[in-house]
Amino acid sequence: MTKQYESVIGLEVHVELATRTKIFCGCSTEFGGAPNTHTCPVCTGMPGSLPVLNKKVVEYALKAGLALNCGINQYSRFDRKNYFYPDNPQNYQISQLYLPICHDGWIEIETAAGQKTVGIHEIHMEEDAGKLIHDEWQDCSLVDYNRSGVPLIEIVSEPDMRSAEEVTAYLDKLRLTMQYLGVSDCKLQEGSMRADVNLSVREAGIKTLGTRTEMKNLNSFKAIARAIEAEKARQIELLEGGKPVIQETRRWDDNKEYSYAMRSKEDAKDYRYFPDPDLVPLEIGDPWIERVKSEQPELRTEKMRRYQQVYQLSEYDASIITGSKKLADLFEVTADICKMPKKAANWIIGETLKCLKEHNMEPEELILSPQHLARLIQIVDKGKVNQNIAKDVFRSMFKADIDPDDYIKEHGLGMVEDPELLTNAVAEVMGEYEKAVAQYREGKTKVIGFLIGQVMKKMQGKADPGQVGEVLKSALEN
């Protein structure tokens, strides 16, 4: 008889904060840059250097904590986590263990089975490490400290998740939330969001937790899903075989689809946390918290609701559009300018998403402006161009955010205004395709499509097919 097991999963997610400077010094956090050009004595651990806390980091941490329904520790401190590694210039990381800034929050996720609440155990601030590159040629490693000192918040969940699907939903929600807050762009692939998975298994129905392992090096949602399945299977196999699960850190290799233990006797994993004497404690008073609360931007759920109410969008449409803050902003400003929310929504869900997919771009990379999109919508609405031409114009707007009026004028794309041109074209076509005309008059009304097409061709597409159809119909029936 096979036992039923469930996996119990908790996540530790590191989020890189989008501040201009590092957490403890005035170096730029800008991505890229030649190695070690965004460094100073502080973030390279030079003797005699001292850290000074970036206030914006605290602000962002508060925003994140409040958005995740956390309690704020109004007295909070920094501790040193001591371990030796070359990407860690001081061989200690300044983090928060004993008194993290936020505690006991929650977030709601949507899964196929419905809504679920995932608890947030705590959120704390810490500094990022530098980057290690392995040089195969010289058989050594190279260190770049540009990233050392970049501010992070670590979001530690309760072990409330039970499947890869829930984990993905959780990460998605976290990412969206951070984006909406503007505190991070949260890109898993770029490393501005990193997730470590803690997983244990237990027989269904048992309340106690099994021994858990920690998995690292999970660089995509797919990798996370695969890793979870594999680890669950591995642990079950051990238990079924009467062997214990060892608490350890495992590194996931997504190419080989397996994990291996990162055991090293060189690393006692005893971090000897103690309060950092170089930094003074934080006191976060009620006024500060209230101010951050009042300045909190609208989050995704609220926005969705508002879009349904105010703009009369369907739940589905609202959901798609609010799936990215950039898209939502684009929609809202466009809708407010042209006052045609349904049309704006259609353009976003239709052409915009289509173009993004074709160009393999993220919504955040959109350069299309709402002013121009709104103008295009108005132009179409007034009948100045037809839908097809509008789509062409849109593509150019997508690429270079051109002004639609200018573009239409330059390329002469405006629909023909003169009704005589249309009647002439209709007459010409009817003359050229007498057979089709005859067929229509015999009752094969579907042939009108072909004739409309021919008229459109003659007019170089600069006519409204609906209008053409009407003129043709009346000409054919007379």
Binding site: T19, R20, T21, C25, G26, C27, S28, A34, P35, N36, T37, H38, T39, C40, P41, T44, M46, V52, L53, N54, K55, K56, V57, V58, R77, N82, F84, Y85, P86, N91, L132, I133, H134, D135, Q138, D139, C140, S141, L142, V143, D144, Y145, N217, R251, M262, S264, K265, E266, D267, A268, D270, R272, F274, P275, P277, L279, V280, P281, L282, E283
Partner: protein, 97 residues
């Protein structure tokens, strides 16, 4: 009350401290630490129930800096003292993941 540090403990601490001690040094270190701990144990006499640990002397809180870039490219200066560098990066033996 005497503190006793066994060899395993000394080895453990030297891993934490990233120090390579010879046999003799290990024994000496053990003896030194034991002696100091015996003396430090004096603190046990003190009744500190209900006393909060005091990491910081002054009740100063909230020392911040603004989120403004103030540092320019200092890579040349930073690398000046590097024992081993390559391509503007610090070079170390291969790190094992």
């Amino acid at each position: 009350m005497s503190n006793k540090l066994d060899k395993e403990m000394i080895e453990y601490v030297s891993i934490l401290a990233k120090l390579d001690l010879t046999e003799i040094e290990q024994i000496q270190a053990g003896a030194d630490i034991e002696q100091m701990l015996d003396y430090i144990d004096k603190m046990k006499e003190l009744d500190t129930a209900g006393i909060e640990p005091m990491p910081h002397i002054f009740p100063v809180r909230n020392v911040f800096r603004e989120d403004e870039v103030v540092n320019a490219d200092a890579s040349e200066a930073m690398l000046r003292n590097a024992p081993n560098q390559s391509d503007g990066q610090y070079q170390v033996p291969k790190t094992v993941e």
